[in-house]
């Protein structure tokens, strides 16, 4: 089973105290949301969970094995991540960018085969990008670029999806489309964890939540137990009004 576990995990943010160590597991089918104010360490946590950064203490395990004991390539076949920002220093087309998601699956001496290309095309189609396949990244809008990143991850198609603010720059329709995509991946047995700034997306689409407080405190659990207005108000230092819509709570900042 591809469960991602944080075991007594303290992420390494220079100049900050340890806070509460994280002990949680992202199991297949679960959709975890990470909530917290700016600078609280959401991105650092995502990078640590992806094995791109060493934790200060504790460890991250995938399927019971410490990440540091897995080969990068083997890890990339099972776990993928969408970053908050991309570095497009060199020209590349949308299609080429989606296709690099297949990199961990192709031997060094091999070329991308028809199956790889078909997967990339399907991912572009799924994210409404087929008509932009030949376009240069530099000519895309922020939201289109964000969807290309998601298409790359869909092409990679790992069992564990980490997404750092996957709805960044997206219009309302595509925000929903992306949350549906992540839900669909969870339904086919993937574990999903994403950082979000939108409480209402989290309330609607996440099965579990992790709340990271600026003082290093943290709490986590099933989404319905975590969506307590007082806890959320303390999280952001912002007064909230709550309403129930379609059976889910909606949080609006109070003026």
């Amino acid at each position: 089973m591809e469960t991602l576990e944080a075991h007594r995990l303290v992420i390494d943010i220079p100049g900050r105290g340890a806070g509460r160590p994280l002990d949680l597991a992202v199991a297949p089918g679960e959709r975890w949301g990470v909530l917290g104010p700016n600078g609280v360490g959401k991105t650092t946590l995502m990078h640590t969970l992806a094995g791109l950064r060493a934790p200060r203490r504790g460890e991250v395990r995938l399927g019971g094995v410490r990440l540091s004991r897995l080969k990068r390539r083997a890890l990339a076949r099972r776990l993928g991540i969408v970053f908050q920002s991309q570095h497009d220093d060199f020209p590349a087309t949308v299609r080429e960018t989606a296709l690099i998601g297949r990199h961990p699956f192709i031997a060094p001496w091999q070329q991308e085969g028809p199956e790889d290309i078909a997967r990339a095309e399907a991912a572009l189609e799924r994210l409404d990008l087929s008509h932009l396949a030949e376009r240069e990244l530099a000519t895309l809008s922020g939201g289109e670029r964000q969807r290309v990143s998601l298409a790359t991850l869909l092409t990679q198609s790992p069992r564990l999806w980490l997404a750092d603010e996957p709805t960044n720059h997206l219009d309302l329709h595509h925000q929903v489309a992306v949350m549906e995509l992540l839900t669909e991946q969870a339904q086919r047995g993937c574990g999903v964890m994403m950082c979000l700034h939108d409480l209402n997306l989290a309330a609607r689409w996440c099965s579990h939540l992790l709340l990271l407080y600026p003082d290093g405190e943290a709490c986590w659990g099933a989404a319905d137990t975590m969506l307590v207005p007082e806890a959320l108000e303390r999280l952001y230092g912002q007064a909230l009004t709550t309403a129930m819509v379609d059976g889910a709570p909606v949080f609006v900042p109070r003026r």
Partner: protein, 332 residues
């Protein structure tokens, strides 16, 4: 492109430009064999290459022009390949081996050897040692006590290059007048003392064989270190390999021809503007185009104001800058 033809098409797209570049490379070599103090007609050139022809032509082509043309080709190929690798390493299309102070280190060591009155062999050895020393200093300092980032490496290299530049000026200032022309020629690149072409050509072929299997991995590295790591690339070992390889290529090139600027920066960049950024195409294309450019430049350098010779670096810059600016202007 969602069927098998997609793969064949993408491979064909790669082979066609390489075919044209290889043709251009052969033509440039032919031109450099035919032109000089005595111009040789195409039929006579073919006869010489076939093992016949008259003996003056044989001497001219096989003993004088061919070694020099091949050395120029190999040097240009190495510089362009080193530039292409450095640009991926630093994730900066403007990087080149010279920006990182490699040629500066080589130049200071070579000039100091010339000032001490040492012979050609020792000047060459000094240049090689200087380039490697500069590599080690830049990499050691960029590594520092903290993390290693492309920006930090680039800045360290740029500052080191400025420092080497000051030392070069100092050495020129204290040198006796009669040594200055030789030094200046060395600084601007000069194929006249290139010697045997086989070291550069051999290094070019071996290094291409080393980097070609890395092509797709380099494409992923160009997307940034984190993204590459997330896609299964062992980033740190790969970056070390790139840096050491590019430094070695530069050191060999500088040792052969002195400090020829611009090829490493310009050739890969021009190719990227036309061919995209697939390293499986750009790396061999850089090799061919860099070799072609320096072969033509050297031919011009020794024929333009014959019997006098120009430093080849002047020609690469004079040819390269306008065509580079034109391509840049034309590109989207």
């Amino acid at each position: 492109m969602s069927d098998a033809s997609g793969q064949a098409a993408s491979r064909g797209l790669r082979l066609r430009p390489l075919g044209w570049l290889a043709l251009a490379a052969l033509l440039s070599l032919a031109v450099s064999l035919a032109l000089g103090s005595v111009a040789i007609a195409p039929e006579a050139l073919l006869a010489v290459l076939g093992g016949g022809g008259d003996s003056l032509h044989q001497t001219l082509v096989l003993e004088l022009r061919l070694p020099r043309a091949l050395a120029a080709f190999g040097t240009g190929a190495l510089l362009a390949l080193a530039g292409a690798l450095m640009q991926i390493l630093l994730r900066n299309p403007l990087a080149d081996p010279y920006v990182l102070g490699l040629s500066g280190g080589a130049s200071v060591a070579a000039l100091a050897a010339m000032l001490a009155g040492l012979g050609v062999a020792l000047v060459t050895g000094a240049a090689f040692a200087g380039a490697l020393l500069s590599t080690l200093i830049v990499f050691g300092l960029a590594h520092g006590t903290g993390s290693w980032t492309p920006t930090r490496l680039l800045l360290t290299g740029v500052v080191m290059a400025a420092g080497w530049g000051a030392l070069i000026s100092f050495l020129l200032a204290v040198s006796p007048v009669e040594r200055l022309p030789g030094m200046l020629y060395w600084l601007m690149g000069d194929m006249a003392y290139a010697g045997s072409p086989w070291p550069v050509l051999g290094v070019a072929v071996v290094s291409l064989a080393v980097v070609m299997p890395l092509g797709r991995t380099l494409n992923v590295l160009a997307r940034g270190g984190l993204q590459a790591a997330a896609l299964g690339v062992a980033v740190r070992p790969l970056e070390w390999t790139l840096y050491l390889l590019a430094s070695l290529l530069t050191a060999v090139a500088v040792t052969t021809a002195g400090s020829v600027g611009f090829v490493g920066l310009m050739v890969p960049h021009m190719l990227r503007l036309r061919l995209g950024n697939d390293q499986r195409l750009i790396l061999p294309a850089s090799l061919l185009a860099g070799g072609t450019l320096l072969t033509l430049a050297d031919t011009l350098a020794r024929t333009l104001i014959a019997p006098q010779q120009l430093p080849v670096g002047v020609i690469t810059a004079l040819l390269g800058v306008p065509s580079f600016l034109y391509l840049l202007y034309r590109s989207r």
